[in-house]
């Protein structure tokens, strides 16, 4: 897999300096390693090369060899002569090779960039003051860095459609489009739903959807991300906020066990958008549209903010102590665990489970795989629940087993985490028979019946880690504060574990969780939250690799290959 690392290196010469770079990379990437920016528009590391913007033109040379003999041609100093190409070459198209020479700072290269910038701007509208891309626009940036700073164009600009609705989530301003074809290539090559194309020709070329088609793929918003200008905008984000006011926090998409890496953008406690964060081992530079909408749960209409004990309002601490009393009094407890909980939360919950010898149930949330970044397991942390010992069997389809235990009188108290019991198979009578402690973010009929109701925080309001389908431990950080007065699940579980064991409730931090996680759990030995890299960390799956998890294949994950690798079995011929 991609983590094996490239060890092969070649030496190339960039602006007069020799640099060792990995084989197989493009001249653009090599220049970047040498600290030289080669401006570009159409090139995208995860898409095919189209070579149309011509912004990346550089001078390129190769060591000379005699045509007839193949012998190197030497100069007077005994060095191999460099044969410079007569024309500038695009840096996005050529891979590095030994002895390759690149010049990125000559007069010719500067003149090329000047020229391209001027050309890109002659028919470009002066929309920056009202353009959503302003502040993160490559056209603005490169015009400043590489442009002439004045225009020689006095003719009429082309007129094109300004607001074409391409699909439910994306809108197009054709005048701003610089025709780089990134969006077209993405829909064709990654989303496998080729609905975009150009019509007309020359400078009148116009991006559009094919007749009768819609840009309605669940990946459509990636086109907005990769559009280097403000031509494609998100209908959700459009005109809402200037990007330079937003701050981003690294997070993980909880939509499925794929665990796409994300950035969540907020200002003054309000989230405005979610974008993918590049991780070549997980999601490349992509994420689903549906995953981007998840921030809306923060402001959901049925969001729970008031802890309750027996239907009456209480403080969060009071609710926790009421819950601990109920738990203490029973030895017929069942915990409905959640694979939405973080590793840290699951760890404390499993302490409680062990202390009270509670029965554990978990419900599977499955859906159809799309082969990309929406995996069959629609929860982010089933692997974590195994690793922390919270569960030892795959979550079941529903809670009918718990229902039978209630009917048989084997369970009289239920601690339900993030599950709406009625929705996952318990009847009203069964729910009425038990003392219910409900932890949830949104209200449901059965939550309203709980003896103790503890409102919980969304993923955007807490920090922690998940283990995705690849057994990759990935951390997420709180983006915005949660509703006032609420406790984190981490704190709730830690307190309940302590109180039911006869101890006292103390305030816990992630570090406390990791101090015990790293000493108690073999797979996590020696780890601390802060030492988990931003791009995550592969955890040895050990025997868990044998479990028939529901995921089959996605962008970076193939269950069969995974099991083979985890077991150390080489590919059978």
């Amino acid at each position: 897999m991609s983590e094996k690392g490239q060890t092969d290196k070649v030496t190339v010469n960039i602006d007069g300096k020799d640099v060792d770079v990995p084989t197989g990379i493009t001249m653009i990437e090599a220049a970047e390693i040498a600290g030289k920016e080669v401006p570009h528009y159409c090139y995208h590391p995860k898409l095919s090369i189209s070579g149309n913007c011509r912004m990346c033109l550089v001078e390129m040379g190769m060591p000379m060899r005699d045509r007839a003999t193949g012998e190197p041609v030497m100069d007077d100093d005994g060095k191999q002569k460099i044969g410079w190409m007569p024309k500038p070459a695009i840096a996005c198209n050529s891979k590095v090779s030994p002895g390759l020479h690149i010049k990125t700072d000559t007069d010719l290269v500067k003149d090329c960039r000047n020229g391209i910038m001027e050309f890109l701007l002659v028919n470009h509208p002066l929309d920056c003051p009202i353009c959503d891309q302003a502040g993160e626009c490559r056209l603005q940036e490169f015009a400043t860095d590489y442009g002439r700073g004045f225009s020689r164009f006095i003719e009429e600009k082309n007129v094109k459609p300004k607001r074409t609705v391409l699909g439910p989530r994306v809108i197009l301003d054709d005048e701003r489009c610089i025709l780089c074809s990134r969006c077209i290539r993405f829909m064709d090559e990654v989303a496998d739903d080729p609905v975009l194309g150009f019509t007309e020709r020359g400078s009148y070329s116009t991006l559009t959807c094919f007749p009768g088609k819609n840009l309605d793929s669940n990946y459509s918003l990636n086109t907005v991300d990769i559009c280097p200008v403000g031509a494609l905008t998100s209908r959700d984000f459009r005109f809402k906020m200037r990007v330079w006011f937003l701050k981003s926090v690294k997070s993980i998409c909880t939509e499925s066990s794929a665990g796409a890496n994300t950035e969540v953008w907020q200002r003054e406690g309000k989230i405005y958008r979610i974008t993918p964060r590049r991780n070549d081992a997980v999601n490349d530079t992509w994420m689903t549209d549906s995953g981007r909408a998840l921030y809306k749960q923060v402001e959901a209409e049925n969001r729970l903010v008031q802890p309750k004990v027996n239907g009456g309002s209480a403080s969060a601490t009071e609710a926790v102590s009421a819950a601990s009393k109920i738990l203490k009094e029973s030895d017929k407890i069942a915990v409905v665990a959640s694979t939405h909980s973080s590793v840290e939360e699951q760890h404390f919950l499993s302490k409680l489970v062990r202390g009270k010898k509670a029965k554990v149930h978990a419900v599977a949330h499955l859906g159809e795989e799309d082969g990309l970044l929406l995996s069959a397991d629609r929860t982010p942390n089933t692997r974590g629940a195994f690793i922390t010992g919270l569960i030892s069997e795959l979550p079941s389809a529903d809670l009918s087993a718990l229902g039978s235990q209630i009917d048989a009188g084997e369970v009289d108290t239920v601690l339900a985490v993030h599950e709406d019991l009625a929705a996952v198979g318990l009847s009203d009578e069964q729910i009425d028979k038990v003392k219910l402690i409900q932890i949830a973010t949104v209200s449901t009929p059965s939550a309203e019946k709980a003896a103790v109701l503890i409102p919980s925080l969304t993923v955007f309001e807490r920090s922690g880690s998940f283990v995705n389908q690849q057994f990759r431990l990935q951390k997420f950080h709180a983006v915005v504060p949660g509703p006032a007065g609420l406790l984190s699940d981490l704190q709730v579980f830690a307190s309940l574990a302590a109180l039911t064991a006869g101890g006292v409730s103390e305030s816990v931090r992630l570090k406390d969780a990791w101090d015990s996680l790293s000493s108690e759990i073999e797979e996590l030995q020696g780890l601390q939250f802060r030492t988990i890299p931003d791009e995550g960390l592969a955890v040895p799956p050990g025997n868990f690799a044998n479990i028939p998890f529901p995921e089959k294949k996605s962008l970076k994950f193939d269950s069969r290959e995974f099991v083979r690798e985890a077991m150390g079995v080489s590919e059978a011929s």
Binding site: S50, F119, G202
Partner: protein, 452 residues
Amino acid sequence: MSAGENRILFKNIDQPGYGRDIDSYMAAGGYETLKKAVGMKPEEICSEVMDSGIRGRGGAGFPAGMKWKFLDRKSGKPIYLVCNADESEPGTFKDRQIIYKDPHQLIEGMMISAYGTQTALAFIYIRGEMYEGARILEEAIEEARAKNFLGDNILGSGYSCDLIVHRGAGAYICGEETGLIESIEGKRPYPRIKPPYFPAVLGLYMCPTIVNNVETLCHVKHVIERGGKEYAKIGKPGNTGTRIWSVSGHVQKPGYYEIECGAMTYGELINDLCGGLRPGRKLKAIIPGGSSSKVLRADERFTGKLKDGTEFDWGVGDIPLDFDSPMAAGTMSGSGAVIVMDDSTDIVGALANINAFYAHESCGQCTPCREGSLWLKKVTARMIAGEAREEDADLLKSIADQIEGRTICAHGEATAWPVQSFILKFRDEFIEYARKQAAERKAKNAQPAAVA
């Protein structure tokens, strides 16, 4: 046939009683060379073509034998042969004579070439506007198929190859070979980036592909008929065979003329074959090889050394009609289209016309050509509309300089060269043009004041 012509390809064309049907063609010895060819080894065909030194007639003048040699035969993929019959370069009207009047010559040339390269399937990509030509080709192909000159087991040789006519939809860029290939594949004719998409390696359907011009493929027939070395005696070294020149513009007898390479000069072509200029007119300029080639001014002189070391000192009329000589004069013979302009020509108007063409035909894929070509057009359109500025001359040149050498395909050069050469050679006229307009405007604005 006019004196001075040497008609090989056009031997039968326009002859009284000669029709385009297969009987006419065969009565004149048609398809005998194909019979000869299938008795030879394919490699022999290729080496004869190599020996003939024949260069491509589509524009770039690349040696055909060499191109065939580049075919990637190790890949094991099928090989395709495509005849470029898109003939769209303004001024060019030679290929269509063959298609409309002697289609079997092309078919024979193609089937010999197909056999030589061991092509699996051959195509004729014909310009969309020539729908009658496409129909004629279809008809001829059926005639040839009936006689087993193409199709299965051609003339019992064991070699099979079919020929498909593919019509374009009216875009000049479909003549660019990789754009053409995309077009056959059913896509927009966006020229491909090279590397890696050299047709001989990754061409049609990512298989090794040869693209040759109509005239080039017809020459192959005559190469095999005579033998490569014998054919090479026509013309001169490096510039072998005959070429068909399409002459248009201000001459008495515009038309197509087949001339042995190097046997005549531009001056002789214009004055002798084409009957000279119109009465009382003087030559102003020649576009020597299609509208994309660099213009030559009537009073220019060209001096230097040819590849073989001979020195030359030419006026425009002295430039020999071949491949290398126009190149030595800083332009090119391109598609062999000679556009003659006499002293009545509005040079700004002429460039405006050319600019409009290349702006209309830019595929729009890459920035310099897409934006530059339309900008050029807008500037010259404004100039001829009466709003010329003195600085426009240098602006035009600078825009063209920002295009040349920086694009995906040679349409960039085709756009830039006319502009660069018109400004280089007629800069004073462009500036004078603006001054005159300014003076006229001034006079006009002054008038009401004088009345009041």
